[in-house]
Symmetry: C2
Subunit: 394 residues, 2 copies
Amino acid sequence: MTDYPGFKFEVLHEDSASRARVGRIDTPHGSLRTPAFIFCATKAAIKAASTADLEAANVDIILANTYHMLIQPGPDLVAEMGGLHKFMGWDGPMLTDSGGFQIFSLGQGTEADEIKSAGARKQAPLLEKLTEEGATFRSPRDGSRHTLSPEASVEIQRKLGADLIVVLDECTPYHVDRKYTADSLALTKRWADRSLAEFERGHDGRQALYGVVQGGVYEELRRESAEFVSSRPFFGHAVGGCLGAQEDQMYDVVRYSMEPLRCDRPVHLLGIGGIRDIWEGVEMGIDTFDCVTPTRIARHGWALSREAPSFRQNLRNAKFRNDDRPLDEDCDCIACRRYSRAYIHHLLKANEILGLHLRTVHNIRYMTRLLATVRAAILSDRLQEAKQDWLHGA
Amino acid sequence: MTDYPGFKFEVLHEDSASRARVGRIDTPHGSLRTPAFIFCATKAAIKAASTADLEAANVDIILANTYHMLIQPGPDLVAEMGGLHKFMGWDGPMLTDSGGFQIFSLGQGTEADEIKSAGARKQAPLLEKLTEEGATFRSPRDGSRHTLSPEASVEIQRKLGADLIVVLDECTPYHVDRKYTADSLALTKRWADRSLAEFERGHDGRQALYGVVQGGVYEELRRESAEFVSSRPFFGHAVGGCLGAQEDQMYDVVRYSMEPLRCDRPVHLLGIGGIRDIWEGVEMGIDTFDCVTPTRIARHGWALSREAPSFRQNLRNAKFRNDDRPLDEDCDCIACRRYSRAYIHHLLKANEILGLHLRTVHNIRYMTRLLATVRAAILSDRLQEAKQDWLHGA
């Protein structure tokens, strides 16, 4: 039975009206308070913020993407440099994903949002085949062929050295039918056991493994998958895969996944973290979220705000031209403490990259403040009121 | 006679072997130690660093370019927002130039370095005519026609509100003959008196005016120009214009300009600030320098270093792939304290904009440390040794 001596998940308080809970995950690189938002340092960098900026914004945990690390600079180089923590100057908790999501979603061109920009498109792998062994794809960088197997994913993540790592799964597209999804889930389960075996083979206590719940949009398959991962010696669980076309269907799928999961392990919701998603997910028992949206929209001119229903404002809008207020009167980030909306509007008009930094730092701080609000609300048994207050009109 | 009650220039120590001196310029926004490097926040932003980053790097003074402010967001908007200091979140000393350099050099396409990138080219004005009244050009932004006269430049700079402002001059190209240069200098002198008159008309003690030494590469014209500005009630002087084709000729031209200048006013060298230029300029009595190079080369992958003769290294070079040392072992900037050359190399390979920030912050800190070294050397009467030590082999 896999043991995680350097890790601990402790539930500190449970909501009486929902599955929401406040907890703490201890890792060899310190602790994180849950519910938490995991910020995406895709290629070992939060594009427009340094790890010092993350600390100033009270960030507990970040993630890097195994697929991107595989392409550049490669896991061996990262290992030679002492692992991802040292390489990217981050001494706190860190998660890596399995690499599967990028290969299945980008490789098949379904992740429209990801491939909008030319830069992202150049990063997209070409999925050549999917077999029992693993997924074979070509690197967009040099055309080299790679097979990402469950064992390879664990091995790569071991070289990267993140605290929390994730098993390889097949991430099914939205449009596939029940038969395809069931077969895929069976493969994902076999891969999970191979991942566990490989993990235990090299386990030195520095990493903890998450098993992924799949099953598409099908309730019984989600239940089967959740029961399966609960029966295996994972440290935590992740809810992944296609989560439906509409927000409401996504919440149903998360609910199907959550109900059978054991309650003594942390649960991560993969790639989802809109403002409403967080309030809803927390109620369903989700402990951690990750999403590129806060930092990505920052680069496109948006700052997160309290204004429903979108909770964002585009600073390019001419109405901000002479608006001398900060992005958010209540925010303590450097963008809000030093600069006005008018200045950030000017930076957009003048194509100044400082604006990317200021909006990124603001959006990161917005998310850490949101999650702090969520945790405080759970601890004081006021989650419902806090949710309604934040989502008013949304 | 123009009086500058809120300003003071004090020479604290003079070198015995050269015109080098350590001083202090007091402004309504605090003091700066001289010799100093003035960092270029061209469009009211140091592209990849915030004003908080500048403070952390011990930056005393920055500048913004009047031409760029005129084009976007316009001086009236800046005034409405409380002036440049408040607008751009910088509470320290600040200089603006007259706007002439961009109009004459970019407008005639001689500033090859500036217009290399498409972005800069789009910013270039079209110089339509130059008359006694001023320079007429079209905005590259909206095609609107502007006339920049001596009075208009002072008025725009008054709205921007920098502490140190500069008179409009004609910046002659390198290839013009003595006759053209002499006529141009005569115009520049008439413009200087008009600038002073306009400055005194609106003078409220918050700004101090610099007169510019022109005269091309011609020694007598430089002398005539320096004697002229010394005879007028400027707070400080700036050495401008085409400074020759070769480094040595540039130093001759600066020397011609410096000799007749009064010693009780600070002298700024416009647009020059290479590593060797600073050591040479200081010996000739220059008190402040400005140059876009440290921040511009940072964006192109270069980090300033102690290695002669170029004093820079390109982190894109494959030799840095697994170099786990910081950019500079002695530097205390965040890039050097947290990250390795290998990481910064990775950021370049992965096209991550965080690299622009890290190299920018490093290069800024490099320059403030260089100028601190220069000041300490003058104060301890060791300027020659310090210069040789820094430039060894260059």
